[in-house]
Symmetry: C2
Subunit: 403 residues, 2 copies
């Protein structure tokens, strides 16, 4: 079967292990060996793999209707719309559902461009917006539109002096670019881009000034939404009120569904009263049933509230580590980044791959970024105490062996 | 509940009926009234809604694993890869799976641009490529890149003289554009664009000449794939051998999964050996289990072979119709377009909306295009004789009443 992996286009680096089963924070390979999944699939299963209530609701929906002609609404979709809108920290009264976070971001940018009748997109230099299109061009991974990917002060203090240095940047943007901008897209925690968070004072002032002149603020909550950053949504770390909130990943807990929430006051500004968008699966009953179920579980089981203790335990553990190759640990909620530095005889890349492989051997699956020289962990919010103990034991065992 | 529809962004025109159940070629509204779905959802359910084998395989997969970290393959994905590649009429040895047809088209174009190190895209003027990005710009719905959306002769004859008039266009393209082209994207039957099919001689010669100088030919099979056009794939209506085949819609029969098939010889030409693409759900076990199941059903149940008789029955019926407001009927496989023309006192728009609404009242759901002045039907390939009789009776009843 392993030979058949040659049939798959090499879109990224693949491991040689074949995964065949998943439950909660665990996945199993074809030999029956199990691994603690510390990346929640592809950062999506905030509720753990195959949450029983979500699985049950999904099967129930499948017995009724999976998909329908896009000209029709289904009761499931309307329930999901209300459920998701009510879950957002600010008031939004319009929503639509698509498949992927990237598609949702592309939709949001296109919406903003239409409302504003401007094309340019502002973003922070380390942010990731999407896998294709304008979102990709506005991401740190692309060299395009580089003038509009701005630096930012990084701090977590309420009494910082960040604006002393960055006020001039805000002035510069307002003077030179604001009249051409459709939107500013904020990834509240820049996870792909290295796990960074901009200063609240800077972001709040920038958003306020941009919104004063009509530039839309879009919160990219694809990765940071649904408790991942410790709060319901990542933009709650800032004193801002985004015009559009883009959701993906955790909204489907493994199922491909994404959403864009905004306000009727903005929709009414669209240059076409009918903002035509056609995609086979927009507003599909199965996808929206999953979204409805997932958000219901977040509320009913107080997932985010209960995850706070685990977040603390992880932080206490990571802060206790002292190894020459660990430069720094950065964390926001259930997002952990361990910055690696070279040691005598070993590059960052060698260290990262060695640790990743040794952990896999020990039954622990972590994320890595060779470019950002990071070990990256985004465990499920529902990780158990036993899972956490297993993780700590294995992590220390592996790090102790690195020479 | 109807009030809650105000929460949904108006991305397209919505009907006021709420759909709540689907089975085979039928859907039910919240009052229990049933409708014959003559558009297969959003042109996706070629096997009918909730095909029992697909539903069963889906639930079985859900009990094992839905989603996993994108660094890992699953046995299901590898089986689907082999299954889909074997189902294609020409030989391809590389594939990947994404969520939507639009995303797959965007991926294919990006792949072609990378292989060729050129950016321009050629397409036929009535073709539709996707809902966003470059694919959208290359669609008939956009005014961008209009020089590269070319006219074409439309014929179904093997002994046509189309090239007499269109040879110069091929020469013009080869001389002026071929060196800048990344790819030519062919939608074999242009369904959104009005149900048109270009002449085989023209397309075959164009593709041959373009491929001779290295331009990639991409078959957009999102709508036309999996028996929709009467053959397995729409590009089999032409004597061509595409470099890339893009699949969506029917591949998931209602589930959001799409695919791109190509060849290792092309992948090896990518300027980066690792063509990085990151999307939460690429190669997901659930989506690929659905694709594997769907293609299995197409083979095992000889869906396409068996649909030929129904296609004939539809054609015989449509050809028997004689109404002053019907200008022409165009059909390819299970794709039917009834071109409407104005009659005294009624515009095309009025006629189309009247017929669509009256059919809905009678329990028949059809598609329409006001822009193209078409009634459009894409029934399931599994439509039964009884369903067909119901359709014919209701259709005649409604058309007879149009004054």
């Amino acid at each position: 079967m392993i030979k058949m992996t040659a049939l798959i286009l090499k879109t990224n680096d693949f491991e040689s292990i074949l995964i065949t089963k998943a439950q909660d924070s665990w996945v199993w390979d074809t030999d029956g060996k199990k691994y603690l999944d510390c990346v929640s699939g592809t950062w999506t299963c905030n509720l753990g793999h195959k949450h029983s209530k979500v699985l049950q609701d999904m099967k129930k929906q499948m017995d009724d209707i999976i998909h329908r002609c896009m000209r029709f609404h289904t009761p499931t979709t309307l329930k999901a719309a209300e459920q998701v809108l009510n879950f957002l920290p600010n008031k939004y009264d319009k929503i639509t559902f698509l498949n992927s976070g990237s598609e949702a971001m592309e939709f949001a940018i296109s919406f903003a461009r239409n409302v504003r009748d401007k094309t340019k997109i502002l973003s922070l230099k380390d942010s990731y917006l999407g896998a294709f299109g304008v979102a990709k061009e506005s991401s740190y991974t692309s060299t395009k539109a580089s003038k509009l990917k701005i630096p930012y002060p990084e701090c977590d203090s309420a009494n910082c002096n960040c604006l002393d240095d960055f006020d001039t940047l805000i002035d510069h943007i307002m003077e030179n670019y604001s009249s051409e901008l459709a939107c500013f897209v904020l990834e509240p925690i820049m996870v792909s881009g290295g796990i960074h968070k901009a200063c609240n004072k800077f972001i709040s002032k920038l958003c306020r000034q941009l919104q004063n002149v009509g530039v839309l603020v879009i919160a990219n909550e694809v990765t940071t939404g649904f408790g991942r950053s410790g709060l319901r949504f990542g933009h709650q770390h800032f004193d801002i009120n985004p015009d559009i909130v883009v959701m993906g990943k955790a909204l489907g807990n493994g199922y491909p569904v994404s959403a864009i929430a905004t306000r009727s006051a903005l929709e009414s500004k669209l240059s076409h009263s009918n903002y035509y968008y056609a995609q086979s699966h927009q507003l599909d009953p199965l996808g929206t049933a999953v979204a409805n179920s997932v958000v219901g579980v977040f509320k009913d089981e107080q997932i985010i509230e209960k995850s706070q203790d685990k977040i603390k335990q992880f932080n206490t553990f990571f802060k206790s580590l002292s190894y020459p190759f660990i430069k720094e640990v950065r964390s926001y909620g259930m997002i952990f980044g361990i910055q690696i530095q070279p040691v005598e005889g070993k590059t960052c890349k060698e260290l990262i791959l060695e640790i990743k492989d040794a952990l896999l051997e020990e039954g622990v699956l972590i994320g890595i970024s060779l470019g950002k020289e990071l070990l990256r962990l985004l465990p499920s919010l529902t990780i158990t105490d036993d899972d956490l103990e297993f993780f700590k034991k294995k992590f220390v065992k592996v790090l102790d062996k690195v020479e």
